[in-house]
């Protein structure tokens, strides 16, 4: 009864966000982005694109986690494989919603098929993430009907892994090929995306699983305790790697004299960035380095929540860092830093994507037995 109350209460909260989001979406289509978003020609990519990057990298990350048992044979991770695949589907759908809302003319997507530009990284990114969704859906279906280890299922697992790496690479290229913006340009972003995607995947699977266990049985099932302790160890290592990456990046920005890098100094002094570093990376790293906290239920939930929030801020600051310094004109003593803070409507639409992801996941937990394991193991 209590569980039912919580379930319907949760659904009602999601429903409210979805309804408000739908109102915002209708307004976007009727009035245009300019009427609702804090955006202009010099900061054309908004919170919604940051949300897209956050969702698709989370999706990529949980798919990587699912690949551990399915591609690399680490059987101990099988109990979280089905849930991982389903979270990946939900996150990817949320990502697509965010992207569609970012587009000025989404109804012209037919040109994506009939007039493709194969030189465009966005085109390839769209192709790979589209394929990833198809592979994830089929893979999930096969798992759901109990087919985990057939040849076709293995093909799907390997195919999913290859496509997700391709998708992540092309997402990195979308930014990394922009020569005009030094803070985007280069291969750093692809490597950074790879590690942070894995980090967000680990955080998501821990958080979603543990909250589910808490709501249903009140604790982690005994047979899965060591599994989650091991995940927490890997999680700790990946936070540390991400932290080191972030320090490298900041150091380069601080040493650079060129005006194009002045944004990095600006970002370093901004509250969201400091929250990302201190609260989203250092605090969870500190917590996870204490064995007692790392092995505790609360410690895991707290650290994974902080990391997810930190990464969400990180996606946002990455996107803004490349845009807030105008790239024209270069020859001026009045180098300005542009100000961007999302409007309430941008938040509403982004939260709509989150609500859709949570709704899909919640319904999945309710009806699709996401904790299933292959029959042999069970």
């Amino acid at each position: 009864m209590k569980e039912n109350k919580l379930y319907y209460g949760w659904l009602s909260v999601l429903g409210v966000f979805i309804v408000i989001g739908l109102v915002a979406i209708i307004r976007i289509f009727v009035e245009g982005h300019g009427a609702l978003f804090h955006t202009d020609d010099r900061v054309p990519w908004t919170l919604l694109l940051a949300a897209y990057v956050f969702f698709v990298l989370t999706s990529t990350g949980v798919t990587l986690v699912a690949s551990l048992p399915q591609v690399f044979g680490m059987k101990q991770f099988e109990p979280i494989a089905k849930r991982s695949i389903f979270i990946a589907i939900a996150a990817l759908i949320a990502g697509f919603i965010s992207m569609v809302m970012e587009l000025g003319s989404p109804f012209k997507m037919v040109y994506y098929m009939i007039s493709p530009n194969l030189a465009s990284p966005i085109w390839w990114m769209g192709l790979f993430y589209g394929l990833l969704l198809v592979f994830l859906l089929v893979k999930f279906y096969k798992m759901h009907i109990g087919d985990w280890h057939s040849k076709f299922s293995k093909f799907l697992a390997v195919g999913t892994f290859i496509i997700e790496i391709a998708a992540l690479s092309t997402l990195g290229l979308v930014f990394g090929l922009i020569e005009a913006r030094p803070t985007f340009f280069g291969e750093y972003i692809q490597v950074y995306f790879l590690f942070t995607a894995f980090l967000s995947g680990l955080a998501a699977i821990m958080l979603f699983s543990l909250v589910y266990f808490k709501v249903t049985i009140g604790k982690i099932p005994e047979e899965q305790e060591s599994l989650f302790n091991n995940i927490a160890k890997i999680f700790t290592a990946v936070i540390a790697i991400t932290f080191v990456f972030t320090i490298w990046r900041a150091t380069v920005g601080l040493y650079a004299n060129r005006a194009e890098f002045s944004n990095i100094q600006f970002v370093l002094n901004s509250l969201p960035y400091q929250l990302e570093i201190f609260v989203g990376l250092m605090l969870p790293l500190g917590l996870m380095l204490v064995v007692k906290i790392r092995n505790s239920f609360t410690g895991k939930v707290l650290a994974s929540t902080l990391v997810i929030l930190g990464l969400a801020l990180g996606r946002m600051h990455l996107l803004m860092a490349g845009q807030i310094v105008p790239i024209m004109p270069k020859l001026t003593i009045d180098q300005e830093i542009l100000f961007y803070f999302p409007t309430i409507w941008e938040w509403v639409v982004s939260l709509f994507s989150f609500a859709v992801m949570f709704l899909i996941y919640t319904l999945g937990e309710k009806y699709l037995k996401l904790g299933d394991v292959p029959k042999k193991v069970a």
């Binding site: 012209k108 007039s115 966005i122 005009a180 790239i327």
Partner: protein
């Protein structure tokens, strides 16, 4: 000795003929230099005097007389709405260029106003911008007009996922708003911030809104798509100069054809190569390797003292 004198006379006559040729050619209308304008204007002048013979200006600057029958005049077509590819192909045998003489710009902003009027842009949408440039406190400030550079290696066309923006054979980079999905990737990729998004529903009359869209006119503007300077190909097809060129009261903006080696600001017509050499023309942010089609003449020999109205008022 006499022979040498004859040659000098001959050379003077040739030079005079070339000047007369240019003068008479351009007298027919500012900017006839464009898109076959020379051939058509010459044919009009010469038809009165020499029957089947016609004088043409060669690309190396000589005026030669040839039989009219061997010339095939290029017919300029209006923007053909029925053939989508027409706007994508460009005007054959042309390579358009813009040259901005920075020393002549005093931020009159007439280029911006005329461009906005012609393309039905909102007041905050500037396809042509004028920046105040000053490299350091010790160096003199100057005004720097800038539109899309129509780069030969355009990053914007490379990144567009649906090929809505494209480079034509005549060097012009256009946007097909019918095809643009509004991802704004081209805006982020352009090193010159040349692109302008239609963030809102355009405030235009029904007549304009009901016009059939053509990438060569960029009219009507469409909400949720990217716009930018198009070098006014519709004007070029009418043998006219782009709006910004004719609107500039100081003649700071020249437009022409690199293949013909001729540019004009409407008042004077000059050789592109000669003015580049004489005034040390350059391209902005050349290091990106984008090969812009717009060139600048440095801000020397200014015709106005620098005056920043905003600062004077405050």
């Amino acid at each position: 000795m006499e022979n040498k004198k004859d040659k000098t006379e001959e050379s003077k006559i040739k030079e005079s003929s070339r000047r007369k040729f240019l003068k008479s050619g351009f007298a027919i209308g500012a900017g006839t230099v464009l898109a076959g304008g020379i051939i058509s204007s010459v044919s009009k002048v010469q038809a009165e005097t020499s029957g089947n013979k016609i004088k043409v200006l060669t690309t190396n600057g000589k005026v030669i007389e040839i039989n009219k029958s061997i010339l095939e005049e290029y017919k300029l077509k209006p923007c053909d709405h029925t053939a989508k590819n027409h706007a994508r192909e460009g005007i054959p045998y042309r390579k358009f260029t813009m040259v901005v003489d920075i020393g002549k710009c005093n931020n009159a902003r007439k280029c911006i106003e005329k461009c906005q009027e012609a393309h039905h842009l909102a007041p905050d949408q500037e396809w042509m911008k004028v920046y105040k440039m000053q490299e350091s406190k010790e160096m003199a400030p100057y005004w720097f007009p800038k539109s899309c550079y129509h780069c030969d290696n355009a990053p914007c066309t490379d990144v567009c996922p649906v090929s809505a923006t494209f480079k034509r054979s005549d060097g012009i980079v256009l946007v097909d708003s019918d095809q643009c999905i509004g991802c704004k990737y081209c805006m982020v990729a352009c090193p010159y911030e040349a692109r302008v998004f239609n963030w809102r529903k355009p405030d235009i009359s029904d007549d304009v809104a009901n016009q059939e869209y053509c990438p060569e006119t960029s009219v009507p503007p469409k909400s949720g798509t990217v716009g930018k300077c198009d070098f006014c190909p519709d004007m070029i097809r009418e043998k006219k100069l782009p709006h910004c060129v004719t609107a500039c009261p100081n003649g700071a903006i020249y437009f022409g054809d690199i293949k013909e080696d001729v540019i004009s600001n409407g008042d004077e017509t000059v050789r592109f190569s000669e003015i580049m050499e004489a005034k040390s023309g350059y391209r902005y942010m050349e290091y990106f390797g984008t090969e812009p089609s717009t060139y600048y003449l440095p801000p020397v020999d200014r015709i106005f003292p620098f005056k920043d109205e905003k600062k004077t008022d405050s």
